[in-house]
Symmetry: C3
Subunit: 395 residues, 3 copies
Amino acid sequence: MNFQSAINQLQTIKPNLHQEDFLLTWEKSEDDLKAILEIASILKTMREQNISPRVFDSGLAVSIFRDNSTRTRFSYASAANLLGLAVQDMDETKSQIAHGETVRETANMISFLSDFIGIRDDMYLGEGNKYMREVGAALDEGFAKKVLPSRPGIVNLQCDMDHPTQSMADLLHLKNHFGSLEALRGKKIVMSWAYSPSYGKPMSVPQGIIALMSRFGMNVELAYPEGYDLIPEIVELSQSNAIVSEGSFKISNSMEEAVKDADIVYPKSWAPFHIMQQRTELLKNRDTKGLQELEQDCLANNAKFKDWEYDEAKRKLTKNQDALYMHCLPADISGVSCKEGEVSSETFERYRIPTYQQAGYKPYIIAAMMFANKFEKPTEELANILEKNKNRIER
Amino acid sequence: MNFQSAINQLQTIKPNLHQEDFLLTWEKSEDDLKAILEIASILKTMREQNISPRVFDSGLAVSIFRDNSTRTRFSYASAANLLGLAVQDMDETKSQIAHGETVRETANMISFLSDFIGIRDDMYLGEGNKYMREVGAALDEGFAKKVLPSRPGIVNLQCDMDHPTQSMADLLHLKNHFGSLEALRGKKIVMSWAYSPSYGKPMSVPQGIIALMSRFGMNVELAYPEGYDLIPEIVELSQSNAIVSEGSFKISNSMEEAVKDADIVYPKSWAPFHIMQQRTELLKNRDTKGLQELEQDCLANNAKFKDWEYDEAKRKLTKNQDALYMHCLPADISGVSCKEGEVSSETFERYRIPTYQQAGYKPYIIAAMMFANKFEKPTEELANILEKNKNRIER
Amino acid sequence: MNFQSAINQLQTIKPNLHQEDFLLTWEKSEDDLKAILEIASILKTMREQNISPRVFDSGLAVSIFRDNSTRTRFSYASAANLLGLAVQDMDETKSQIAHGETVRETANMISFLSDFIGIRDDMYLGEGNKYMREVGAALDEGFAKKVLPSRPGIVNLQCDMDHPTQSMADLLHLKNHFGSLEALRGKKIVMSWAYSPSYGKPMSVPQGIIALMSRFGMNVELAYPEGYDLIPEIVELSQSNAIVSEGSFKISNSMEEAVKDADIVYPKSWAPFHIMQQRTELLKNRDTKGLQELEQDCLANNAKFKDWEYDEAKRKLTKNQDALYMHCLPADISGVSCKEGEVSSETFERYRIPTYQQAGYKPYIIAAMMFANKFEKPTEELANILEKNKNRIER
């Protein structure tokens, strides 16, 4: 990377990210998204060249994980650390949905000296994103009433609707793989349901992928067995996006058909919308028996679609028999992490290293979201860092 | 804040805080307390003005929490981070009281490169503060015998007797609310028991409040239903304090009577002294059945005093119908966090933001305690920081 | 310490530690070991003289603990913090042995911005060290395939075979106690089994001690009741080491005989090799009943050897009745931490402070391992730090 040309490139973009939370990609302008990609790339190259982009001398980055996570947790910690912030975990019980005064108060109590709050809350349909906005409103009030010296930014680390740090990392991977955002135009990406022996996987990854990739002129095909729908509004949104971006959007019910001539395939399991709706109701009512029954039904239904495995035969149907395989990891690999799963071991192994590279963008995407939130003129600040040229490791 | 005048003010005070633990406010001189308030205010203003008071290039601040905590944990983490220290948690089982060699050894093992140990140990009457002193003695020995390169300071983050980081934050809130410490003279503050559906809340907050506020010429009234006594020695101490400071100290058994003409009301539940004594014995004997029975008895007795709720009617009895409401949070708010609780939702809402501001002083109080412990001449060090004028966030 | 002479001393050593993991002391050359000792000493003195050896402006030090730990955890955190790294814990379930793709993937996912991975994995015979190498191979691949910007170094924080940060800290303690490595030549060190009422203590400490101390011309005597063997290969290795270093190595079956004329005694319990073999099989098969039976058998057998307690009578048999007592802590002290244990309270108390000092070297040994891994020319980098002379605490 030539830093000067990257910074010149960034200079031409007019994002509106300063002091804005990053909750859903579809609330962000194309310039916002491009700015995040550019900043992430610059930060990544700085790190590789031993230039330290530490802009905070102190400060906390709070993390709230209502669901287990290794990858996103490390990505968030890495991003915070790179910029100079210390991570402080806020333990939240998984089973409880906080509202009202509890949220308002807690949001302020953890924010007196905090710069960011990263939240993963993907368990309840209709709740995760709402919770983030409730936290945001509390922070707005706290800042307005001078309780807080500044308004911490919120980073959505996965909710019921979107997984923007994942989808943006995926987009940066595609941009680099194909050479540019422009090069993605007309490329066929298949977001396909795939069989998994586990249950209740969130819909936020496929939703995030179709809603984001449809904005860059790609031919997006969403494939799933009948009944495995995603949230209807997000599917509609993706359709509209495709029209605006002059790409296309299609839904089909066969992985085999879908992957034909695909440039990119993203086979991943999820639990269907109507199951998630029922599950959320049962969880709210703490109906343990109902939840167990739903799980059994759901697993039994999944089992009908074991042929929704991405394997060598299907790979051979793709463009040049070599579509880029993507996964947010960990994948359910047949014969490796489970008996039968989302992808055959041979096919996975073929693209294993690229999936690691895909994951490697996430820390920088998060750091870029923080950076763009904090600095009104991120380009100038990046130029400052380059000028200072401080070593990350003493040399 | 004018930094120069604040520093001049601090210059006139002769505290004896260097290399001293902060365990109980009543062991500290008036100058000690004033110095903490001044340093905390200066650090808070520095942070607000983007001046970084980071004085440690590395170092650990150990935390030992024998009880759950979000507010104090974040306050401690924020204070440590502001000064440049990394927090390292020491997991302690809640149910076990360590003594003797275990304490001596552990205290040294966690301190080789540590600058502070913050301890919350409020579960057992007669134990928490004692434990902190045992840790302190072990650190003294370790330093004397050259096991440790320096003697880490201990910060009491709540014990069975006092909660000095809370009461000092509360005092700073009062000082700022009324304009000066001098302005508190003659003000009536009511520390009142209040009904709560939960059980076993520690006495350290009310004890900390009466023991501290009685030193500044305030008219302190402690109100509780008959039988809900605090530790007698601390009540006697508060009485003596009031005589020395030319304020007053009174005990009464009616919230309604107590709040009349009050300038400040602090309605908060606690478990009575005699219950805490029994509970400690039962806990030591691991008498699960006895503990359950005690809890039932205690809750049943609490329930007789549901009218000890601070509400609009009571507020209207206070000075100008507008006494400053205080709480260490979270409050048991009737109809919000519980059916019937310490405060009505209407009254709480009226003072909600001030309670957040009150809480916001705690990180700086802790940072000030650390700062004053570490630097023999804190005034000079603060002046140094101002002169350097390093940005917390790059600008 | 005279820094210049220490650095000159280090200059004469030709270690091969740059970008090498530290997994087993017996894979390291004598120069490697000496370099670690020298660097650790220099870092310790820097810290004592308020010179900050912070060489990282940011970066993560990952910790993976499959077994509980306070001492090693704090040592690792202290070392990382001293050099400027933030610790990020990777939670691993204790009962599960990960292999293959899980290890490969996880190793990469936690390493995008990490400089070190510290691993404690001592539960399963034949597994802990193997796991570390599997992680290392995954990191090698990740770095080679440009997934990772650099290859994080691995520090063995205790495995089934060795506990190198412990044994190296112990060696530094001996070096300082007796004045030099040369002074250790001909000294008699007794690594003795001792009775403990607990079960399943790992063999890595005694193995680490005999394998390391036998390299410095010491007369090493390993004493244990019949049947309490260590891993045979490591015992053989120690025998060979003794021949090469012109020391001696002897096995005996009486603590009383062994400690005669000893300069150093290290009485510590462990579970025998054949028990650990059985335990590993039972653990792999999740045979809970078998594990309980094995524990009972093992404890019953231990109980036959309660006279294997190091006490005043045995101490009086040692050189000048004052052999240096060593322990990795916590010791099972008779009448203190258990009814009957590894050492009498009177004897332990006599050497209590030296055991604390012994432990105090570990953070610096770990920091030295990190330092030597990261810098091709550690001597030059240490000289740089001295020249900069940055204060750890502002003065």
